[in-house]
Symmetry: C2
Subunit: 461 residues, 2 copies
């Protein structure tokens, strides 16, 4: 396997030569992104078509296998070697690449939300494939990018939609999540599948360990749609990610008691839905007070009926804030207030004119803790030199182990995780062109070899 | 078919003889309810066993067919004729019955809630079967009850758990619901089945029209568990229903916009779950203000994920109050407030410290309107003479066309529509014994032939 070979020769690297800024710019301008070819790939990825525009490619059902097969076929048609690791990540490497240092990768994820769009993740993967195509067509009189290749997290639950930890396989690669934690994860929807049992269903695991030791990277560049409204609102076409908010995911289980809606008075009900409604509002209010976000999702309920008070409910809670300390404070307040609400107490004005019934039981489990991340200014600079403007938001599990960058293109109305998600073909192609900014990074790492051993801290946007 | 024959001879009735009160009491005391046999039936009904105590026998899946088969087998073993009508109601009639007047029936429903108990409905059906068994064992030196037989609504969606109108087949029998409305009803859970398509699946329809003309009844007596806490709290073993609350059922559809939980700020969300939480609380508050009940159930959601703001939700709302006018006032206020909440307006203190985002859309459909019903004092009296105490709550769709009565036995903690639902064997047998109070009704209708042509209005409890 190409990458394993490179790993063995890594320690002896010494053949770096300085590329001038001018050389880079000349090379960059000679490489042409083929917009039509790119859009064909984006709309071809033949998986989970939900509607004319939507996608459903949850981690690890059959649609995900088809997406992986598409990626492998596309990169093998470009004569790339394929490495698949123990989390199903796929790395494509051209045989001609220099092998005296860790490679620079670009790529993204192929799994989607249950009712996702066609760009989230897919744009980044197809941009990587397009970059390889552009640099292998002979349009350039110069050599193709020597240290750059592509990668995809197709089976990795990067979205966190099916299993309750997002950026899962990159987190394992970066040693921030133990492999055993991942394999034992239970799906958030009704059902009993674990990541491990799902892996075995579609047979997508490789023999290479999922780790930065086995597959080292000098840097990782990801093109993504913004998934928020800021770029569009400021009439900008490109955003550069400077940091990632802290976030924590919880699973909240509330249980009351089923009874007849027509014959059981409010005072004798253990009304879980009334409690859950207060919790939705209270978590929103607490988040507001801290300039944070709190979002309730995936409510799983036992079957209900019109004339039965609901019995139990299990739902996810997603909290986010710029600083770790804010998320911690929010957690403490949410935990305390949810306990009170379940008992029929407190919760400020929410209990006004509401009958205090029997208490509900509550259990809150923390599914995922993701600290805030900041890029080092030098990393931002590497991308900024190739890109025109700098406004971004995003995520970056990989940053703990290497330089990484995320380049954003705007999406219509900021809407993502939705079949109506839309980014114009022009913006997709423009983003892909900036994705070639990895070439600029080549020069910087030649000039300043130590950049990826920094204590990388993202500048929070 | 026995009942159809009786209908043809009904108009010529003249053979009524006065039964004295003493004769009735003597007959009643001679009939013995076999408690063990009754409990065997209750726990044998071989359908939808959910847990050790629970049941799931929704209208019209296979479990419901099994329940019907059990009933038909039980009554045919007692040499009864079976009539099945166009809504799947089953009527059992002994060949020896007098056929010069409409018969008196006892019975209940066999369908349950999705997570129901073993007594709701089942007790009333098995009590009817036990009554026939008791009166055919020769224990009595007197003749067996001559005008009394049994009936079951096994396939009838009486519970309203699967299709959103309760007491459906009795409502059609009583001409208060058109047959076409029933057949076109769509199930409340995810799925596309209609009552009509479900009927055809299990082939349970008979050729007799579902109407009081085709199957006339002089009266209907139903034994039921209370489903509320009042009997137990007042240490009473028997309750007699005096009336039924008015109730209305709605289907509320709220739609927002799916987006990313981490990158979309509160102000740019159309957050349906936040709106729905306010609606749950507001409907509770409005109901409180009117001494009424409002209960949210059956929330159906599109698949969610932890990091996607939910897109749309469809849920049922059940409102109840003693007077029709209260339910009407409540409806007007709920409709107005829900519209405001969807738009992000009003709703009193619920909007305090809550971000006003984009509006959600809302659509409210009325599924079912059930007016308040009161028994005529004479009907209460007929049952009261046989029963010891009079405290009840219940339902009575049948009352618009005939005399009807519901006798209640207490259930533990008032809990019903729940697998933990429990009524002691002694109370089941006691209730069944009072169910034989139909014999008292025989005397009364012999004395006062016009009782069932009254404009029957229940006395509201």
């Amino acid at each position: 396997m190409g990458l394993e070979t490179q790993r063995r020769t890594f320690s002896g690297s010494s053949r770096w030569q300085l590329q001038t800024k001018e050389m880079n710019e000349q090379l960059l301008s000679s490489l042409k992104v083929d917009q039509n070819r790119l859009m064909e790939d984006i709309h071809y990825v033949p998986v989970g078509a939900l509607t004319e525009t939507g996608m459903c490619c949850l981690a690890l059902p059959d649609a995900d296998k088809q997406a992986r097969d598409w990626f492998v076929e596309a990169i093998q048609a470009l004569d790339c070697h394929t490495t698949i690791d123990a989390m199903g990540n796929i790395f494509a490497v051209r045989p001609c690449l220099r092998n005296d240092a860790p490679l620079t990768f670009t790529g993204s994820h192929l799994d989607t939300q249950p009712t996702g769009g066609r760009y989230d993740g897919i744009l980044g993967v197809t941009a990587g494939v397009e970059m390889l195509k552009a640099s292998s067509t002979g349009q350039s009189n110069l050599h193709p990018p020597e240290t750059t290749t592509t990668q995809a997290n197709p089976s990795s639950n990067e979205e966190g939609a099916r299993f309750p930890i997002s950026t899962l396989s990159s987190g394992i690669w970066a040693s921030s999540i133990p492999l055993s934690t991942a394999h034992n994860l239970r799906e958030v929807h009704p059902g009993t599948a674990t990541l491990s049992s799902s892996f075995s269903c579609i047979g997508c695991l490789g023999s290479t360990p999922c780790s930065h030791d086995a597959v080292p990277m000098a840097a990782h560049f990801e093109l993504h749609i913004e998934q928020g409204p800021l770029l569009e609102a400021s009439h900008r076409q490109i955003g550069i990610v400077k940091g990632v908010r802290a976030y924590r995911w919880y699973m909240v289980e509330v249980a009351g008691r089923a009874c007849h809606t027509g014959t059981m008075d409010f005072g004798n009900r253990a009304d879980l839905l009334l409690a859950a409604a207060k919790m939705v509002l209270q978590s929103h209010r607490l988040a507001m007070a801290h300039a944070a976000l709190a979002s309730t999702g995936v409510p799983n309920l036992k079957p209900g009926s019109t004339n039965t008070v609901l019995e139990s409910m299990r739902y996810s809670l997603d909290t986010r804030a710029p600083a770790d300390s804010t998320v911690e404070t929010l957690e403490a307040q949410i935990m305390a207030d949810f306990e009170k609400i379940a008992a029929g107490e407190g919760a400020g004005s929410l209990n006004e004119s509401v009958t205090k019934g029997w208490p509900c039981s509550i259990k809150i489990t923390t599914d995922s803790v993701s600290p805030a991340v900041r890029f080092h200014p030098d990393c931002i600079k590497a991308v900024t030199e190739a890109a025109a403007s700098a406004l971004g938001l995003g995520s970056g599990e990989l940053t703990q182990e290497m330089s990484t960058s995320m380049t954003l293109v705007p999406c219509r109305d900021g809407v993502s995780h939705n079949p109506t998600e839309y980014t114009s073909s022009e913006n997709c192609a423009l983003g892909t062109r900036y994705c070639l900014s990895v070439l600029g990074f080549d020069r910087m790492r030649a000039e300043r070899r130590v950049i990826w051993s920094y204590q990388l801290v993202w500048v929070l946007e």
